[in-house]
Amino acid sequence: MNYPMWFLPETGGGILIALIAILHVFVSHFAVGGGLYLIYAEKKGLRESSEQILEFTKKHARFFLLVTVVFGSITGVGIWFIIALVNPAATSFLIHTFVFGWAAEWVFFFVEIMAAFIYFYMFGRMDSATHLKIGWVYFISAWMSLFLINGIIGFMLTPGAWLENPDFWVGFFNPSFFPSLFFRTFIAIFLAGIYGCFSAAFVKDRATRETMTRFSGKWSLIALLGTIPSGFWYLAILPEQAKNLVLGKSPTIVTMMEWGVISLLALLIIILLTAMYRPSLNSKWVAATLMLAGLVYFGSFEWTREAARRPYAINELIYSNMIFKDQVDEISSQGFLTSARWVQTRELSADNLIRAGEEIFVHQCYACHTIDGINNDIVSRTATMSYGALRSYIGKIHQMRYFMPPFVGTGEEVDALAAYIAGGLHGKEIVTVKQEDSGVRLFEENCAACHDSADLAPSLDGNSQEELAGLLTRLDEISEEMVPFAGSEEEFKMLSGYLFSLNNETGSQADTGKTDGAELFDINCSACHAAEDLAVAVSEWSPEEFRSVLDKLETLSEEMVPYEGTAGEKDALTEYMEKLKGEL
């Protein structure tokens, strides 16, 4: 909201970041591990006095230079460009907070480039001991680049004590610093072996090809083993919420993890087959498959790490939509449209509801959701939801799905966003459904300013619904500060029904006046469930079972939240589900 949002509705910024970042890290980690690989490949050639191995090493150094110095360097700058375009607030924060970390990394980048050029162009032109020293300078400076960037990336996931003590070093040496450093170092060495296999596949001399395939395979395997304990260490230090996301609460992470496991298995099989069992099996196609599996393996890790930060760009500090966590309350009370810098609609009216909603969408949702795009398409994700369902869902979005940022703004702004999605994107009718007429809503609007429902319940115990309805007409008799409830007959029914349900949890006597199960389903369930699909899923359940489950939804899955409606509403939902089952 402090910065404009680069708005490419069908594409989304996230996919652009992922595209550049995953390709970059696949090369940049090779740039680190590959330095070490070159040193040891050269040493092997020298030790065995093998011209062929030295020739291989030189050619691999040329490949290394072309891949890392060109593609690696420019995509590195590319990440900087793209994150500044997609999330300038977080980028600016990281640049300003860690400016001298970045600056030091620039120095190592310079040393690294100079060493890479000298290593390649002077291969065979300086004495081996000096040449190897240049190789070591390269590797150490490349690893120091990793060391520095690792601190800053780690900060984004686990800012740790920095949140209380905003000191550069506290943020840099954050809780995930060392596990991540070890993990990435092993990954870098591992990838160097994969790239080595790839280079070896192009060697014409069979003996050298097999020797270097075996060398590269062993190299990879040892490093891959190192990633396992460091990976678990990494997982162990994650904050609770991030750990939950990684371990299954985030659907996208689950998918990515599956890809990670598949690619890991592919890597292991290919390495064991070609490197350990029969190096002659290594061919250009096998090596290319190995590279692809390596890319997917590392890509799934990077995606998981990024997604584990959700709903934040910098954990506990800046949400992925560039809103600072500590500004949420203030903005919500003042209104998003009046607080945001880059919006044109400042005041809401019936005429500009959809336009205002679109602006809210751009600044609060577009960071993760595309419109008719591939990545997190908002249109398909809300296809089953009505305006009312969206209103209900948006207001409690962060509670229902932790990985989504909370909506920041007023109730009217919730309505505007819901209107944009339901009316603007889906062309659905923007009508207020009965949720707002329900007893809960009436209680919130009329009573909650002074009364907490739990505190009020004991004093109402023993009254029938009719008695409670009567009480509502003479509230001024109870206290001078109260005024009689003035609502329609229907509203009296609903509010008294709700009050009755406070002490009669399981009773079905409460009549909220709201018995339309279809509407209740739409408002409360359709964000995640299609009614027909759910009917199929519970087709074997008895009505009693279904009804009892509504009292303990949170026990079904961690993603489900308790149903907060009345007993009557639960009955209506059960009836609705029975009706659907009958139509199957």
Binding site: V69, S73, V77, P88, V99, I118, R341
Partner: protein, 359 residues
């Protein structure tokens, strides 16, 4: 009154003067390297097109040097862009977003150009006249990248234009139509072609022992290109001066003493480098040109701060002091420079003992 949309800046860890110093220290180095890249490649192409043994040899030397020069350009561009974002991030990020679709294109274009440079280098002899096409494509990509950079650096100084965001949310806004753009861009491109001449002359100097004929040709050609293009560039510089707003222009005409002194000194240096260039005094010309590029960078900074003054001055930035990261950086910088010098000395010593043609 129209709303001016400017984001709030983040805090900085030390006084802004440090960052300004580092920005003005590193940006001219990037410019010099960029000039060597663009101008050098331009001269290399014309040499190959004109043909002949000596010209072809020179074009080949340039082709060999090009990938390393591009690497240095990119690296030396990182530091000033970092310090620019620290000082003016709220403007630079916003302007980049307004032209985001073009700005991000720099990444693939640069990758293609870079690989083009390697192709030109590694396959110079084999490619023959196809090499010219590759080099021309690389050159074109580089000037397109420069076009995007000039757009962004100009747009960031025009926050009144930021409201264009609402009509260009897809990041398709450019300010090439602004009166400042063309002289500014041409001044940068022709400056690069001129300094490219110096680079070619220096490249020849490195081959003075092994190939004195080439060195002589490179010197004469390079200094001629430098001198004539500098003469031409004076015109673009004056054009640029005339199109900036009056208040800013007057800063260099007496309203601001340091700015005026710099401008005067720069004019004197321009005359001196042209004279020195026509006399083929390579080292003196190079030294004075370096000083001139520094002075022009200072003047560029004055222009920027003058354009932004109504909305922001660097003194507005809030400081939350912490010096130790600066110390860490400075130590790293000293060690890094020492390490590079050590490696270059090892390389030079090895080349001295190596009988094969130098790299």
């Amino acid at each position: 009154m129209e709303t001016v949309y400017i984001p709030s800046p983040d805090t900085i860890p030390i006084a802004w003067g440090w960052f300004q110093f580092l920005l003005l220290l590193t940006f001219p180095l990037h410019l010099l390297a960029m000039n060597a890249m663009l101008g050098g490649l331009g001269i290399g192409i014309t040499q190959q097109v004109l043909g002949g043994d000596i010209r072809s040899r020179l074009a080949h030397r340039i082709a060999i040097a090009l990938p390393l020069v591009i690497a240095v350009v990119v690296n030396l561009g990182v530091a000033p862009l970092l310090f620019l974002q620290v000082l003016y991030g709220q403007f630079a990020y916003t302007s980049a977003i307004l032209m985001g679709a073009f700005w991000i294109m720099i990444v693939p274009l640069l990758i293609i150009a870079y690989y083009g440079a390697y192709l030109y280098d590694f396959n110079y002899s084999r490619l023959g006249s196809m090499g010219i096409l590759v080099a021309v494509l690389t050159f074109c990509l580089l000037i397109v990248i420069a076009y995007f950079f000039s757009n962004n650096m100009l747009l960031m100084t025009l926050p009144e234009r930021f409201a264009e965001y609402f009509s260009h949310m897809a990041g398709d806004y450019l300010v090439s139509g602004d009166p400042q753009f063309l002289p500014r861009y041409l001044h940068m491109i022709f400056g690069a072609l001129a300094v490219g001449g110096l680079f070619v002359a220096i490249l020849g100097r490195f081959r003075a022992t092994a190939d004195p004929e080439l060195a002589e040709h490179a010197l004469r050609l390079g200094m001629k290109v430098f001198s004539w293009f500098t003469c031409l560039n004076v015109c673009f510089g004056l054009w640029y001066l005339l199109v900036i707003d009056r208040e800013t222009m007057m800063m260099f005409m007496g309203a601001d003493l340091p700015a005026t002194i710099s401008f005067t000194l720069a004019l004197v240096l321009v005359v001196m480098v042209i004279v020195s260039g026509f006399r083929n005094k390579l080292l003196a010309t190079f030294a004075m040109t370096t000083a001139l590029v520094y002075l022009m960078t200072f003047m560029r900074a004055w222009v920027r701060s003058s354009y932004l003054r109504e909305h922001f001055t660097l003194g507005d930035l809030q400081v939350v002091t912490q010096y130790s990261p600066l110390v860490f950086f400075l130590v790293t910088l000293v060690l890094g420079i020492a390490c590079v010098i050590w490696m270059l000395r090892l390389t030079a010593a090895a080349l001295k003992n190596d009988s094969r043609p130098s790299v």
